[in-house]
C-alpha cells in the first residue's frame, strides 16, 4: 500500500509539502529572524531584500517571520477545527447509524439542516454570533465540519452493521458499546482518514477567509488570511505584502489536497468522500 502511494508523484509531492509545512509550523517561530509583532516604522513596505527575504509590511514587520509564525497558527486552526468536527460528527454518525429509529431520524435531520447552508456562509454566521477571534473561528469551522463526518460515518455504519462478523460478535454476547467501538468504528476509518486530510487544508483556507473578513484572527496576529486582508490596501505599491501569504495558503492547501487524493486512491478507489 505504501508503495502505491509513493508511485503517484502528485501524492508524494503533497506528502512532502505537508510534511515540510508541519516542520515549519513546529520550528518556524524559533528560526524566524525577526519578531512577528514588533513594529519598525522606519522600514515599512520594503521590497524583498537580503535583510528581509520577503520584504516588510505596512508596519515594518518582516513578512518571512510572520509567515513562519502564521504556519503554526494555521496548522493549529486546521487541526483543532477538524478535531472538533470529526470527533462530534463521528460519534453522532456512529450512534445514528447503529441505533437507528428515532435517534437516527433526529440526528440526521439536524445534520441535513446544517448541510443546507453553504459551508462558508454557515461559518460566517457562527463566527459572527460567537464574536470575532481566532478561537471562535476554529469553533465555527469545526461546527461546519460536523455534518460531513456524521453523514460519512453514518452511511458506513449502515452497511458495516449488517456484516457477518458483527452478527458473530453479537452471537457471542457482546454489548452495543463494544460492537460500536471495537468492531464498527475501526472498519469505518479509511474514508474518514481521507476526509480529515482533505479537511485540514479546507479548514485552513476557511480560517484565512474568516480572518480576511475580520471574523477570525485579529490584528496583530500573523495569520495568513489576515495578512492578505490588511495587505490588500497596498497591492499597487507593495504587492509582496499580500502575495506571499496568499502563496503560502495556496501551497499548503494544495499539498493537503494532493495527499488526501493520494490516500483515497490507495485506501480504496471506491471511497466517496462527502465533497468528492
Amino acid at each position: 500500500m505504501v508503495k502505491d502511494f509513493i508511485k503517484s508523484k502528485a501524492s508524494l509531492l503533497g506528502l512532502i509539502i505537508t510534511f515540510s509545512f508541519v516542520i515549519v509550523a513546529l520550528v518556524g517561530p524559533s528560526v524566524a529572524p525577526y519578531d512577528p509583532i514588533e513594529m519598525d516604522m522606519v522600514n515599512r513596505l520594503q521590497p524583498p531584500s537580503q535583510a528581509h527575504l520577503l520584504g516588510t509590511d505596512e508596519f515594518g514587520r518582516d513578512i518571512l517571520s510572520r509567515i513562519l509564525w502564521g504556519a503554526q497558527i494555521s496548522i493549529q486552526l486546521g487541526l483543532i477545527a477538524v478535531s472538533i468536527g470529526a470527533s462530534v460528527g463521528i460519534v453522532l454518525g456512529l450512534i445514528a447509524g447503529y441505533l437507528r429509529s428515532y435517534v437516527e431520524a433526529f440526528v440526521m435531520r439536524v445534520m441535513d439542516i446544517l448541510f443546507a447552508f453553504p459551508y462558508f456562509v454557515l461559518a460566517i454566521a457562527i463566527a459572527a454570533v460567537l464574536g470575532p477571534s481566532l478561537r471562535n473561528a476554529m469553533i465555527a469551522i469545526g461546527v461546519v465540519c460536523i455534518p460531513t463526518y456524521a453523514r460519512l460515518t453514518w452511511s458506513q455504519v449502515l452497511s458495516i452493521r449488517e456484516r457477518t462478523y458483527v452478527e458473530a460478535i453479537r452471537a457471542l454476547g457482546a454489548n452495543d458499546l463494544r460492537i460500536m467501538l471495537l468492531h464498527i468504528l475501526p472498519n469505518c476509518l479509511a474514508p474518514l482518514i481521507v476526509e480529515v486530510t482533505l479537511d485540514i487544508g479546507w479548514a485552513i483556507i476557511e480560517g484565512a477567509g474568516l480572518s480576511f473578513l475580520g471574523l477570525g484572527a485579529q490584528v496583530p496576529t500573523p495569520e495568513w488570511g489576515l495578512m492578505i486582508s490588511t495587505g490588500r490596501n497596498y497591492l499597487a505599491v507593495a504587492p509582496w505584502v499580500a502575495t506571499f501569504p496568499g502563496i503560502a495558503i495556496a501551497t499548503v492547501v494544495l499539498a493537503f489536497n494532493l495527499m488526501g487524493d493520494g490516500l483515497r486512491d490507495v485506501l480504496d478507489p471506491r471511497i466517496r468522500t462527502a465533497r468528492g
Binding site: 457477518t164 462478523y165 452478527e167 458473530a168 452471537a171 454476547g173 471495537l182 468492531h183 472498519n187
Partner: protein, 330 residues
C-alpha cells in the same frame, strides 16, 4: 414421540414463524408485502445429536438457524433451550445463554473482523464472558483452542484473517465458537463456500469436536452429502415449512414426502448404469411472499390431488421416528 430416548430435548422449536415486511414500489405505488420465511415449524433437537436442516435456497433454513439462537426476534412461536424460552429472556439472561449456544457461518472470511488478528478475535470471545482473567492463562487458552482446530501455531495469533485460506478461516471461526464452551452449535452451511477437498477436513473436524466436547449440532445445508456425513436426523424444509423429519438413513433409503423423493432422485451417483427413479419437478419454486394455498408443495407435486389445494397437511408418523407432512406418501 420417542420412548427410547431418555434425554429431554435440548432445543425445542414450537410453531415458529418469521415474517419479514417488505415494501414493493412501482413508480408511485407501493405495496407492503410479507415474506413468510419461516411459517409454523416444530421440531426438537436432543442432546449430543447432530440434527440436519436441509432445503433449497429460500426454504427458510438459515432463518431458522438464526431464530433458534435468538439472533432475531420471531414473529410467533417459541424456542426453548433447556426449558428457557429464548425470546422471553431479558438482556442479561440472554447474554449468559449465549455462552451455551454458538454459530458457525457460511462465509468464513466475512465472519471475522478484518481489522483484528486471530489472537484478538478469540481473546475477545473469552473477554466478553470474562473467562480466564489472568493474561497468561488466557493466552494459553487461546493457543489451546487453536490447537483443537488444527491451527495451533503461535505465529498465527498475530495474523489477520485475509492471510489465511478459507478452510483455515473456518477453523478460526470454529475455535471462536468453542471458546465460550457451548453445548449447542448451529453450523450454517459450514462448508458451502470451501473447496471440496477442504470440506471433508472441516466436516471431520466438526465430528471430532462433537465427540470430544459432547456437542449438539444443528447443521444447515443444501448439500445432502454433507448432511449424510455429519447428521443423525434430518428435517427437510420447503418454502418455510417442514415437510419431513427422519433419521438420516431412512431419508436416503425410503424417503416419504414427494419433495424429499425428488431431492433424493437428483443426487448424482457414481455408477451411470444404475437405473433409478428420476423425478423432475415441474414449475419453479413459488415466491415466499405469495405461497400456494393448502399444501405448499402442491404446485409442483407429482402426487397431487384436489385435497392438497385446500388443506395444509399435518405430520404423520409414517414409520418409527419418521414424520411426513403428506397423507398420501407411502
Amino acid at each position: 414421540m420417542d420412548e427410547e430416548r431418555s434425554l429431554e430435548a435440548l432445543v425445542k422449536v414450537e410453531a415458529l414463524k418469521k415474517y419479514f415486511d417488505q415494501e414493493k414500489t412501482l413508480g408511485l405505488i407501493s405495496k407492503a408485502e410479507i415474506v413468510k420465511a419461516v411459517d409454523d415449524i416444530t421440531f426438537d433437537i436432543y442432546e449430543r445429536e447432530s440434527f440436519g436442516l436441509v432445503g433449497e435456497s429460500g426454504s427458510g433454513k438459515s432463518t431458522t438457524g438464526r431464530l433458534v439462537l435468538g439472533l432475531m426476534p420471531a414473529s410467533a412461536g417459541h424456542v426453548y433451550f433447556r426449558g428457557n424460552d429464548v425470546f422471553a429472556l431479558n438482556r442479561e439472561e440472554l447474554r449468559k445463554l449465549r455462552r451455551e449456544m454458538q454459530i458457525i457461518f457460511q462465509d468464513p472470511y466475512s465472519s471475522l473482523n478484518p481489522r483484528r488478528t486471530v489472537g484478538q478475535t478469540i481473546d475477545e470471545a473469552l473477554d466478553i464472558h470474562q473467562l480466564f482473567p489472568d493474561k497468561a492463562e488466557r493466552k494459553e487458552r487461546v493457543i489451546d483452542l487453536l490447537e483443537k482446530v488444527g491451527m495451533g501455531r503461535p505465529e498465527y495469533l498475530h495474523r489477520y484473517p485475509h492471510e489465511f485460506s478459507g478452510g483455515q478461516q473456518q477453523r478460526i471461526g470454529i475455535a471462536r465458537a468453542l471458546a465460550v464452551e457451548p453445548k449447542f452449535i448451529v453450523a450454517d452451511e459450514p462448508v458451502s463456500s470451501l473447496d471440496v477437498s477442504i470440506q471433508a477436513q472441516i466436516l471431520n473436524l466438526l465430528k471430532k469436536l462433537q465427540r470430544e466436547f459432547q456437542l449438539t449440532y444443528l447443521v444447515i445445508a443444501h448439500n445432502l452429502g454433507v448432511i449424510r456425513y455429519v447428521c443423525e436426523r434430518v428435517g427437510v424444509m420447503y418454502l418455510g415449512k417442514l415437510v419431513e423429519i427422519a433419521p438420516i438413513e431412512a431419508l436416503f433409503t425410503s424417503p416419504a414426502h414427494p419433495y424429499t423423493r425428488a431431492l433424493m432422485s437428483a443426487i448424482p451417483v457414481p455408477n451411470p448404469e444404475l437405473k433409478r427413479e428420476e423425478i423432475i419437478l415441474t414449475g419453479d419454486i413459488p415466491s415466499p411472499v405469495n405461497p400456494p394455498s393448502g399444501c405448499r408443495f402442491h404446485t409442483r407435486c407429482f402426487m397431487k390431488r384436489d385435497w392438497c389445494e385446500t388443506h395444509e397437511p399435518e405430520f404423520i408418523e409414517i414409520r418409527p421416528n419418521q414424520f411426513v407432512a403428506c397423507p398420501f406418501s407411502e
